[in-house]
Amino acid sequence: MRKDREYSDIPGTYVFDPEHSRQGYHLNMFCMSLNKEANREQFRRDESAYLDVFPMSPEQRDAVLQRDWIGLLRLGGNIYYTFKLAIFDGINMQEIGARMEGVPDEQFKAMMINGGRPIQGNRYQKEWNRSG
């Protein structure tokens, strides 16, 4: 990701800007392909063989196979695309949220029921640096 954008200081956020989109093109197009049942079937049968037709980087390929949800974003994935893989796995958006943050599913769900992640302390990267 470029670091000189006006939104670069928002923490824990991967804006799908031109650089990100270029990086993730084939990764996202793989995810999109799971919209079709015939493709889902093939992917179910042999994930690795199915991935061979998409010219991804080895890191992207590994992130898919390992369901490294935050890694997928860092490597150019967009959440609406990577969520196709979660749908394939039968995982819902809150579970993905938990896994991206690296907390137990129940903790994430409880946070949402209690009003979600607050905006206070979550606007700027520097706020995270201080507390981290």
Binding site: S21, N28, M32, Y80, K84, Q94, F108, M112, G115, N122
Partner: protein, 279 residues
């Protein structure tokens, strides 16, 4: 002549559609949200618009990164619910209004909006969830629908001002259409939410309430919200709220609020709904 009489702003969270489809609207989790939708359904039934223009975004369903239109208007006779990875939602086929849609497309292009015209466009939860919210589970949708699809996934989406101006041009075009039609416009998406990254789960109810308030009190402020403010304050997916500005632009300056509902959470999202009517 056709008349654009009202606008609705509403979230389009897929979980809301799933709750309807799986008969979960009366569970502890979903009931408070759906109770708040009841008055909107009554309003919809009473007002019975002939056509609803639904401003929404596609979520990697009809469009992929191969081709990313900023504004796409659906002019087809009908639009099939898209397979988003679970198989298509079992909701009625969405019937279009090709005459009005083509009229809009023509008028908007001549008014210097650079529309993409779509004859084939499966519609995903972004469009069908607002219909479920407003209409429940009928065998056929009670109105014709013109899908207006906005890119809010690939940065940059259109500016708030551009969306607002598009709304104004839609209003002008609708009211030049020579048929006696009652038309409403839905702006969908939002409210504050972030699905991605370590900041996933963000909700900013203060931002959302102020947004709902200013739809009638201070539209100028909303029109000028820059992308970075949406991203920071409303979350990366809360930036969908820019689509509500198209709806707002299509209404009178002094449109009045007739109903609102706000609830946290719907899945990972702050869900809002507002109904605005022209005086």
């Amino acid at each position: 002549m056709a008349k654009l009489f009202a606008g609705v702003g509403t979230s389009h969270v897929p979980g809301i559609g799933a709750a309807v489809d799986h008969k979960k609207t009366q569970t502890d989790y979903w009931k408070p949200l759906f109770d708040g939708y009841e008055p909107a359904r009554e309003w919809m039934q009473n007002e019975a618009p002939d056509v609803v223009i639904i401003v929404y975004n596609d979520h990697a369903s009809a469009f992929s990164l191969e081709l990313i239109p900023t504004f796409a208007i659906g002019v087809a006779e009908r639009f099939q619910p898209a397979d988003e990875g679970y198989g298509p939602r079992k909701v009625p086929v969405v019937e279009g209004h090709p005459e009005l849609a083509w009229h809009l497309a023509e008028s908007l292009i001549l008014d210097e909006f650079d529309m993409t015209i779509a004859n084939e466009m499966p519609v995903d939860h972004g469009l069908t969830v607002p219909l479920s919210i407003a209409c429940g589970e009928p065998d056929i949708w009670p109105c014709k629908v013109i899908p207006l699809c906005v890119n809010v996934i690939q940065y940059p989406s259109p500016t708030g001002n551009r969306c607002y101006q598009l709304g104004k041009a839609i209003r002008k075009a609708v009211e030049a259409f020579p048929a006696d039609l009652k038309v409403a416009i839905f702006g969908t998406g939002g409210m504050s939410h972030q699905l991605q990254g370590e900041r996933a789960g963000l909700v900013n109810a203060d931002f959302d309430i102020a947004f709902l308030d200013d739809l009638t009190r201070n539209v100028d402020r909303l029109v000028r919200i820059p992308h970075v403010e949406y991203l920071r304050e409303a979350g990366s997916e809360g930036a969908e709220l820019v689509m509500w500005m198209i709806m707002r632009g299509a209404l009178d300056d002094d449109a009045r609020e007739v109903y609102r509902h706000f609830h946290v959470p719907a899945s990972n999202t702050a869900a809002g709904l507002i109904i605005l009517e022209n005086p």
